[in-house]
């Protein structure tokens, strides 16, 4: 029955006990709505037929309601609505009361990605991994405008507000992959601010955390060491690709020559571009670095000023790696001259 109703109403899968309880209320509400609406319409249709006009000079009796009619008109829907409320309100309250043993995950929304951080590491972008059958509390905030963290499969949603933390919690009990949406309009990339919730069995999750922590530790030791391991050119490019993906650069900049929210990175290096003010710049290392730190300074004509600054959010080696990555994205015959749409074959997306 649950499965039939869920499919009839196009509801997503139910990844938690809470979702199943909310759906139970949903089915009750929709059934009573249908019955009430059917009652009103059936009565109305009966009246249309029974009391259709037979002559243009018809007169009709004056009918006034008795007190009992109006009392029923008020009492029946009121009782029904309060019943819905009596079921729905405790469910809503339960969403605000995370169990004390819940695992905390910090969620940060920013244009246009989700960042997740676990106490004591690791961090991730757009992919939230949680253990199954264990309560998880999300502490949610935003870096810029209001976003809203929404997982349909869990039937939960909570606004990410700049300058304050909100919270919600869930216990996912079905391992699998579920969609995360941004539900509060946040600009150009609103509909691509998607993420993924990965519910893993506890053991798998523990392995993943341990693995990630080892990597973080290794990276910290590398950074602290006096001698940086010398990466070959290819190694730096790979690093740049990784950082670019992690920082979300590729959400707005394509690497296949197609125009997106920002200019494509393919053949960007040393390209001459016309700016908003009419000036022309050559996209050399200096311009590329400046564009990451102070994006609003020189906007290429035809694009919006929507890129956030990355000042203080990437280490200098990471910035350099991204520049190297951009430099590596070249098609054989580089054209110079004013910016134009890609006239060459796009290179296939790697990975």
């Amino acid at each position: 029955m649950n499965e039939l109703m869920r499919r009839m109403l196009w509801l997503p899968e139910q990844a938690s006990e809470y979702a199943r309880r909310v759906d139970g209320l949903h089915f009750f509400v929709i059934s009573t709505t249908m019955i009430a609406a059917f009652g009103v319409f059936a009565t109305a249709i009966w009246f249309f037929v029974r009391y259709r006009r037979r002559s243009d000079s018809d007169v009709t009796p004056v009918v006034h309601p008795r007190a009992i009619h109006e009392a029923l008109f008020i009492g029946v829907p009121l009782a029904l609505f309060l019943l819905w409320f009596a079921i729905g309100f405790p469910q809503y309250v339960s969403l605000t009361l995370p169990p004390p043993d819940a695992q905390d995950v910090f969620v940060q929304g920013k244009k246009w990605m989700w960042k997740f951080a676990y106490a004591g590491g690791p961090n991730s972008v757009d992919t939230l991994r949680v253990p199954a059958d264990r309560p998880v509390r999300l502490l949610i905030t935003s870096r810029d405008v209001i976003h809203s963290f929404y997982v349909p499969a869990l039937r939960i949603k909570m606004d990410a507000l700049p300058g304050r933390y909100t919270q919600t919690w869930f216990t996912a009990d079905r391992p699998g992959r579920y969609e995360i949406f941004c539900a509060e309009y946040c600009g150009l990339g609103h509909s691509s601010m998607l993420g993924e919730l990965v519910v893993m069995p506890q053991a798998e999750f523990d392995d993943w955390v341990a693995e990630q922590r080892r990597n973080v530790l290794a990276a910290a030791q590398d950074g602290g060491a006096a001698v940086q391991p010398v990466l070959g050119r290819a190694g730096v490019v790979d690093e740049g690709r990784r950082v670019a993906a992690e920082q979300g650069c590729l959400k707005c900049h394509s690497v296949d020559g197609s125009r997106h929210l920002g200019p494509t990175w393919t053949d960007l290096y040393l390209r001459q571009s016309k700016l908003k003010g009419g000036k022309t710049v050559v996209a050399d290392e200096g311009y590329l670095t400046k564009s990451m730190m102070d994006p609003a300074a020189d906007i290429v004509d035809g694009y919006q000023n929507v890129m956030p600054t990355y000042q203080g959010r990437m280490s200098p080696p990471e910035v350099a790696a991204i520049v190297e990555y951009i430099k590596s994205l070249r098609t054989p015959a580089v054209r110079s001259g004013p910016t134009e749409g890609p006239v060459y074959e796009s290179i296939p997306r790697k990975q």
């Binding site: 609406a37 009565t43 259709r52 008109f73 969403l95 939960i156």
Partner: protein
């Protein structure tokens, strides 16, 4: 006073002297008019143009959503389009259409007055509307506002697009709304003809009166909050942006304190129309006059205390959320009272299934579903899932398009003979009504399911599993659009070629039909005296002599 029955023998002719040709027909005579009927007609024409524009924007939005990726435009254009659609439909069409258009035309006629209390303010209200509309549309098109009609901060105060002109436009239109509301309240209080006590007021007047109260009390709050956004956007003062020390959620409280009652500014006038139509076409007194009249006031009152249901997932306290949830349900109760009373009015009536009645049927259906889903949304745990998804979009379109536009169309058909003296083609009217009602269902029922499935609002692109329902919705929207186009075409045509209707083609006992159609500039030859309530059909109409009266005291 009873309206005279239509004479069915001789072909009707238009009265020689009407508000349309007296004192003059020139453009200047319209631009300088003090006649509430002409002001009403000017509002009707301009709001219909706004409706047309908003409808075109809606169809473009639906076209873009036909495929999961980009279809005919880029993300920025899409964001601007849904802002345009929302602002034009709400501020330029929904809010003024029925109260300022039909309300202006009919309210004085229904209460036996020569005009509204402040005819010059009435004209000013129209020019404020025009000025505000011009500023807002300029801002939307040249400034490319991309915030949505809700202007949520801090997005609206940090976006690179221009927001200030739209805010100023909406601010100016707000004054138009306030002046109209003020005018109607004073008119209803002071200018009722002899014999017309409060318990004889037509239900249309009751609902318009309740609307006017909301307009006067809520609109200043909108003006204030829009100004605050404009100030923050233009001068960088930290009011709502936390990066500058403001509070981002404060704006939502301010905004919905107006914009939630504004929903009732849009729906109450439609209920006003429906109360008249259901009586006229079932030839029956309203079942529960006082219940219908007072529930309008109830909606106007409770509507002020429900704004928090827009903030159930904004970190609002649980106690607040619970209170707002229950209060929101009370609106549902007042609406249910009206629905049951309208349905019961049909009992032992004499029902003529004409076009306005067809729209009443559509209205009833949409209001029941829109209202019940509204109460479902106030059931807090369900709202957490539905909030900001297409379920909400479908819900408020059921109320605003479903109910309000059906009310508007019912009014258009019912009072077209009153306004123009000519009839629309009944066959085409029914065809279009069927298309509109069916097209509307096909457009918005899939959107309820999309919301269940979890598709958020204002998405330019969407994952592929939302595709099928989006195609269904776009298909429905094209049927709806085509139906509305038919209405537009035959309405314009019948203004010129429609058969002359006569003073009272519906044999209605509504007070506004007691004068010739179209009415003379001063509405009545002599001030009418009311001896019975409205909507009374229990005996054959007996034309009663209108007692000559001294000039009304308000002139």
């Amino acid at each position: 006073m009873n309206p005279s029955p239509a004479s069915s023998d001789a072909p009707a002719v238009l009265p020689a002297r009407t508000y349309l040709n007296a004192p003059d027909t020139g453009l200047m005579s319209w631009a300088n008019t003090r006649d509430h009927k002409r002001v009403g007609v000017m509002f009707l024409v301009s709001t219909t143009i706004a409706f047309f524009l908003g409808g075109v924007f809606a169809l473009l939005i639906r076209l873009e959503l036909l495929t999961p990726g980009p279809t005919i435009m880029d993300a920025m254009t899409y964001n601007r389009l849904f802002t345009l659609h929302g602002v034009v439909m709400i501020f330029l069409f929904m809010i003024p259409a029925i109260p300022s258009g039909f309300g202006n035309f009919l309210l004085p006629l229904m209460i036996g007055a020569k005009d509204v209390a402040f005819p010059k303010l009435n004209l000013l209200s129209f020019y404020l509307y025009l000025a505000g509309a011009a500023v807002a549309i300029y801002g939307l098109i040249y400034g490319g506002t991309d915030t949505g009609w809700t202007f949520y901060t801090p997005y609206s105060t940090t976006t690179a697009t221009k927001v200030v002109p739209v805010l100023l436009g909406a601010f100016i239109i707000g004054f138009s709304s306030i002046l109209t509301g003020l005018n109607f309240i004073v008119t209803t209080h002071t200018m009722r003809a002899p014999g017309l006590g409060w318990n004889r007021l037509p239900l249309f007047v009751w609902a318009i009166y309740a609307t006017s109260i909301i307009q006067i009390l809520a609109t200043p709050v909108l003006g204030m909050s829009l100004l605050l956004v404009a100030v923050e956007n233009a001068f960088g003062w930290g009011i709502f942006d936390p990066a500058r020390g403001g509070d981002p959620v404060l704006f939502q409280h301010f905004f919905w304190f107006y914009s939630h009652p504004a929903v009732y500014i849009m729906i109450l006038p439609a209920m006003a129309v429906i109360s008249e139509v259901v009586c006229a076409f079932s030839r029956k007194n309203i079942f529960g006059y006082k219940a219908v009249a007072y529930s309008s006031l109830g909606i106007a009152f409770v509507g002020f205390f429900t704004w928090g249901h827009h903030l159930f997932v904004s970190g609002q306290s649980v106690v607040d959320a619970g209170i707002f949830g229950v209060l929101s349900m009370f609106v549902g109760i007042f609406t249910a009272i009206k629905v049951f009373n309208w349905t019961a009015t049909l009992y032992r009536g004499s029902i003529a299934f004409k076009t306005p009645f067809a729209y009443f049927v559509g209205f009833l259906f949409f209001l029941v579903f829109g209202g019940m889903t509204g109460v479902a949304l106030a059931t807090l745990s369900l709202d957490v899932h539905w909030h900001d998804t297409y379920f909400v979009v479908a819900h408020f379109h059921f109320i605003m398009v479903g109910a309000t536009v059906m009310g508007f169309l019912a009014a258009l058909h019912y009072w077209l003979p009153k306004i123009s003296g000519r009839m629309y083609p009944e066959g085409w009217g029914l065809v279009a009504a069927v298309m509109v009602v069916l097209g509307f269902n096909f457009t918005f029922i899939p959107q309820f399911l999309l919301g269940n499935e979890g598709m958020p609002r204002r998405y330019f692109s969407y994952p592929e599993h939302f595709w099928a329902l989006n195609v269904a919705s776009t298909a429905g929207a094209s049927v709806l659009g085509f139906g509305l186009l038919i209405v537009l075409v035959y309405t314009l045509a019948s203004l010129r070629w429609g058969p002359v209707a006569g003073p009272n083609p519906w044999n209605s006992r509504g007070f506004e039909w007691a004068t010739p159609s179209p009415p003379p500039p001063e509405n009545f030859d002599a001030t009418p005296v009311y001896t019975s309530g409205p909507h009374e059909y229990d005996e054959q109409a007996v034309p009663q002599p209108q007692l000559p009266e001294p000039e009304p005291r308000h002139v």
